[in-house]
Amino acid sequence: MSWVELTAHELHEALKKKSVSAKELVNAFYARIESVEKGVRAYNTLTQKEALAQADRIDRAIARGETIGPLAGIPIALKDNLCIEGIRTTCSSKILDNYRPPYDATVVSHLKKAGAVFLGKTNMDEFAMGSSTENSAFEKTKNPWDLSRIPGGSSGGSAAAVAASEAAAALGSDTGGSIRQPAACCGVVGLKPTYGRVSRYGLVAFASSLDQIGPLTKDVTDTATLMNVIGGYDPSDSTSADLPMPDLTRALTRDVRGVRLGVPKEYFIEGMDPEVEASIGQAIETLKKLGAEVKEISLPHTEYAVATYYILATAEASSNLARYDGVRYGYRTPQARDLLEMYMKSRSEGFGPEVKRRIMLGTYALSSGYYDAYYKKAQQVRTLIKRDFDEAFKTVDVIVTPTAPTAAFRFGEKTADPLQMYLSDIFTISVNLAGIPAISLPGGFTKDGLPIGLQILGRAFDEERVLRVAYTYEQAAEFHKRRPSLS
C-alpha cells in the first residue's frame, strides 16, 4: 500500500516514527493527483507552494523533536467554499472565479494551527447547490468507483478526492446532505455535525440556518480527529454553540450494547433501490448482533421535509447571494451602461442556471403577499420536523437510515428534472432542518461495485454516540477498507 492510500491517523503514526516526512507525503499526494486527476477532476485549485512550505515547517518541528499533533503534516483538501487568505476561492462559480479572500475561515485557522497541509480547493456544485457536482461552472468531477457516474454533491470534489486518495481527508459543507450524500456515493465517511458545533465563519453561505462544515475521511477515526480540531465555540459565529468540545476520539470504543437504534418507517419508501434497502437491512442486523436494540419509530412529517427545505434554503440563499453584485469583488460584466444593467448582466452572466433557479424560488417565497404562505409556513413545518426527532429520541439513542435512495447515478441522469435531483437528498434533508448530527459511512456495495451509504443520526451535540455506533459498525463490517481501482 502506498502512502496516499492510508488514513490520516495511519499517516500520523508514520510521521511520528519518521518513516516518512511531511514533504514526502505532500509530494506523494501531488504525484497521485497528477496520475488520477485527469479522470477524477476533484480539484479546482492546487496550492503546491503553500503545501510544501507548511510541510517544511512540520518537518523542522519533527526534526527538533517536538511532539506533533494528529493533523500535523497531514495533507487535506478543502471544499472551494471555505476561505483561505490569499487563495482563490470560487464556490465553483464564474462570479467568484478570481476571488481571493482577505481572511481565513475559523476552521482554516484551526487546521493551520494544527499543522495540517492544504493540497488545494475541491470542486463542488456552484454555491453548494446540487447533489451531483454537475452544477459546477468548471469541471465535472467523476466518481472514482465508476468514472461514468457522479460523485454526489455538493461536496463531490472533496468526497472524490478522499476516495481517489488524492487527499488524506477533506472538509466539505452540508446544507441538505452535501457531505453525507457524496460520502455515500464515493464510499467514504462524512459527518454533518450538529448545527452550531463547527463555526461557519469563513464558509461562503448558502443557507445560513442549515449550513455546517464537516469532515470527509477514509474512516470514522479520522472524522473524530478532524472534528476535534475544527469543532468548538467561536465568538465570530453567533450561531456557534458555547459548549465544551469533547475529545471525540475517546468515544470510539467498539461497543453498542444496549444502544437503542431507531428505524424510521417513513424512510423505507417505494422507489428505493432494492440493493440499498438490502444493505441497510443487513447493516441493522449487524448492529443488532453487536448488541444494539432495534426499534421501529415514526417521523411523521418526513414527507414535508423536501418542500420545507427548498423554501427555507432558497429564501436564505436569495439573500446570501445578493452580495455578488459586481461592485466590490468577483465578476463584473465588461459592458454595462448604467448601474441596473451592471447588476443584471453581472449576475446573469456570473451565476449558473441552478443558482438562478434557487434565487428566484427564494425571492418568490419571501415576497410580500407570499411570505406567510411559504416562508412562514415552512418555518412552522420545520418546527414540527424538529419535534418529530425530539419525540423519537425519547425512545431511541440513534436513528439508522440509508443516506440516499440509490447509489451514484450516471451523469445527466437527473439534470433534466430538478425535482428528481432534489429527491436525492430526501434522507439527508430532515437532519439539517432539525439541526442534529448525522454521519454517512460505507454500508455495503451494489453488485456493480458502487458504494452504499449508511446514515446514523443522533441527538443534538451527541456526536459522541453517533461516532461510537459508526465506529463499531465500521470495525465489524470493514467496508471502509475497500479502495476504488483507478489508474
Partner: protein, 476 residues
C-alpha cells in the same frame, strides 16, 4: 384650513459607540474613504456579524428614556435591496420584533404639554456612501459608514403641525444627547428624519393618503418641507384630486418636494429573520442596570431647576439645554449659592464667549468652581462687579488662576482710606468750580466726582467707601 395635518416621523440617529454594530471597525467620522473597514463590513463572502452589546445597551437606554416597553425577546431581520453602498445586498435591521415599543415623548404646544407616541425603536446598521463628485465616468463607494450603528425611532402619527414636528424632533434630539446615546448632530448626518404626512377633513376619523418625505437635513428644512407638503396636498384636495401614496424628496434649492417613487415602484424589502444572529433576549436585570445609569432627563431637570433654584423658566430651559451645561451651573451654584446670579453669568458671559469660539460647554477653559470663587470676591468687596467682567475675560482667555489675575493685574479694589483720600484730594484740587457748586447745594455733582475718582483709580475704587469718603471731604 378645513384640513387637519397628520404627521408621523421616523428618525435615524447614529448610536454613540467606539466600534461598529457587527464588527470591530471604528465609527470615527471624517476618515479617508474605506479606511474604517474590514471583511465583515465590506460584505465579503463567508463573513458573519457579531452583535456589539453596547448598541443594545444604548437602545435600551433610549427606550427607557422615552418610556418604552423593552422587548424581552427581539430579533434582527434582513431588509433586502440592491444598492452599491449596501455591501451585502441587505441591511441588518429589525422588523417584527423591535427592541422597544409603546413609549412617548412630551412636547410643549402653546404652553401645554402634549404626549407624542413612540411606536417603536429598533437597531440597524448604516449603509456606506456613494461618491460622484470629481470622478469622471465612474462612481466610487466609501464604506466607512457601513455598519455604523443606528437607532430608528418611529413616532405615532400624533403630530398636527410642522411646528409640533420640529418640537418633537428637538425633544428627541435632546433626549439622545442627554442620555449619551447619540450626539444627534444633524450636520454630520448623525440625526436624520423622514416624515409621513397626510391631510384629512376636520372631524374625519380616517387618515388621508400619506406621502413620505425624505432628505430634510436640518430642523429648518423639516419645517419648510412639511409646510410645502401641506400646501401641496391641500391644493390637490381642494381641486378635488387625490393625494398619491409615494415617496418624495425635499429639494433645498427649490424649496419643493419631488416624487421619487410611487407605491407601485416601492421596494419589496423581503424582510425575514436574520439567520446569522441568534434572537436577542433582554432580561429584567439588564434593563434595571441600565435604568440605574439613566441620567435625570431634561424635563425633570428643568422642573427641578425652577423649584429648587428659584430661577425663571426661561433660564431653566437654557441651562438644561445640555447635560454638561446643567452640570456646570449646578457645580457653580455649589461654590456660590446664589443661583440667579450664577445663571446670569453662565447664560451671559460664559455662553457668549463659548458661542464666539463655536465651543461647547465641556470645552470651556473655566471651571465652575472658579466662577463661584470670582462671584464670592465681588461679595467680599475684593473686586468690583465691573472689574469682575475683566477678570472673567482674563480667566477665560489665559486659564490662569483667579487670585493671580486679580493680584498681578492690580485689580484689587482700593478701599484703603488714605489711598482713596489722596485721589479725592487730587480730583477736588483739579475741579474747584465743581467743589464750590456742590457746596452751594448742587448735590447731583457727587456723581461727577465718583466718575472722576474711578477714572483716576482705573475703576478699582471700592464704590461704597468712595461715596462715604467723598461726601465727608466735599462737605469740608
Amino acid at each position: 384650513m378645513k384640513y387637519e395635518v397628520v404627521i408621523g416621523l421616523e428618525v435615524h440617529a447614529q448610536v454613540f459607540t467606539e466600534s461598529k454594530i457587527f464588527c470591530g471597525c471604528s465609527t470615527r467620522f471624517g476618515q479617508p474613504p474605506n479606511s474604517q473597514t474590514c471583511p465583515i463590513c465590506l460584505g465579503h463572502p463567508g463573513v458573519l456579524p457579531v452583535l456589539n452589546r453596547k448598541v443594545v445597551e444604548q437602545g435600551i437606554r433610549m427606550g427607557l428614556a422615552t418610556h418604552c416597553k423593552i422587548a424581552p425577546y427581539a430579533r434582527f431581520a434582513r431588509k433586502n435591496y440592491f444598492y452599491p453602498d449596501l455591501p451585502k445586498g441587505y441591511q441588518i435591521s429589525m422588523y417584527e420584533l423591535p427592541l422597544a415599543e409603546h413609549g412617548h415623548v412630551e412636547i410643549a404646544v402653546d404652553g401645554k404639554l402634549k404626549k407624542i407616541g413612540v411606536t417603536r425603536i429598533h437597531m440597524e446598521e448604516d449603509a456606506g456612501k456613494n461618491l460622484h463628485e470629481g470622478i469622471e465616468a465612474a462612481s466610487h463607494v466609501d464604506l466607512n459608514r457601513a455598519g455604523v450603528p443606528l437607532l430608528e425611532t418611529v413616532s405615532e402619527p400624533d403630530l398636527r403641525s410642522p411646528e409640533e414636528a420640529v418640537a418633537y424632533l428637538k425633544k428627541l434630539r435632546e433626549i439622545f444627547v442627554y442620555t449619551g446615546v447619540s450626539d444627534a448632530d444633524m450636520e454630520k448626518g448623525n440625526f436624520r428624519c423622514d416624515a409621513n404626512i397626510s391631510l384629512r377633513r376636520l372631524g374625519d376619523p380616517k387618515f388621508g393618503t400619506r406621502a413620505e418625505v425624505k432628505n430634510m437635513n436640518s430642523f429648518r428644512f423639516v419645517q419648510k418641507a412639511l409646510e410645502y407638503e401641506i400646501a401641496r396636498q391641500e391644493k390637490i384636495l381642494e381641486e378635488g384630486g387625490k393625494v398619491v401614496q409615494e415617496t418624495r424628496l425635499w429639494d433645498t434649492k427649490s424649496g419643493m418636494t419631488f416624487s421619487m417613487r410611487s407605491k407601485e415602484e416601492a421596494h419589496d424589502y423581503r424582510y425575514f429573520p436574520e439567520p446569522d444572529l441568534v434572537p436577542l433576549t433582554v432580561d429584567q436585570k439588564w434593563i434595571d442596570e441600565i435604568a440605574a445609569t439613566l441620567p435625570e432627563l431634561p424635563e425633570a431637570k428643568r422642573r427641578r431647576f425652577v423649584s429648587d433654584y428659584q430661577i425663571p423658566e426661561y433660564d431653566a430651559v437654557i441651562l438644561t439645554g445640555s447635560k454638561a451645561l446643567a452640570d456646570f451651573f449646578e457645580a457653580a451654584v455649589k461654590a456660590y449659592p446664589k443661583p440667579k446670579i450664577v445663571s446670569n453669568w453662565v447664560m451671559g458671559d460664559l455662553l457668549r464667549e463659548l458661542n464666539n469660539e463655536n465651543k461647547e460647554i465641556d470645552q470651556a477653559p473655566i471651571r465652575p468652581e472658579q466662577l463661584g470663587a470670582m462671584l464670592k470676591m465681588i461679595d467680599a468687596g475684593t473686586i468690583s462687579g465691573k472689574i469682575a467682567k475683566t477678570v472673567f475675560e482674563e480667566m477665560y482667555r489665559s486659564g490662569a488662576d483667579l487670585e493671580k489675575i486679580v493680584q498681578e493685574k492690580g485689580l484689587v479694589q482700593v478701599s484703603d482710606e488714605s489711598a482713596l483720600g489722596g485721589v479725592i484730594d487730587e480730583v477736588m484740587a483739579a475741579n474747584p468750580n465743581e467743589v464750590a457748586g456742590y457746596r452751594a447745594g448742587k448735590e447731583k455733582l457727587l456723581g461727577f466726582f465718583v466718575g472722576q475718582v474711578m477714572k483716576r483709580s482705573g475703576g478699582k475704587a471700592n464704590p461704597g467707601k468712595l461715596n462715604e469718603l467723598l461726601k465727608q471731604k466735599l462737605q469740608g
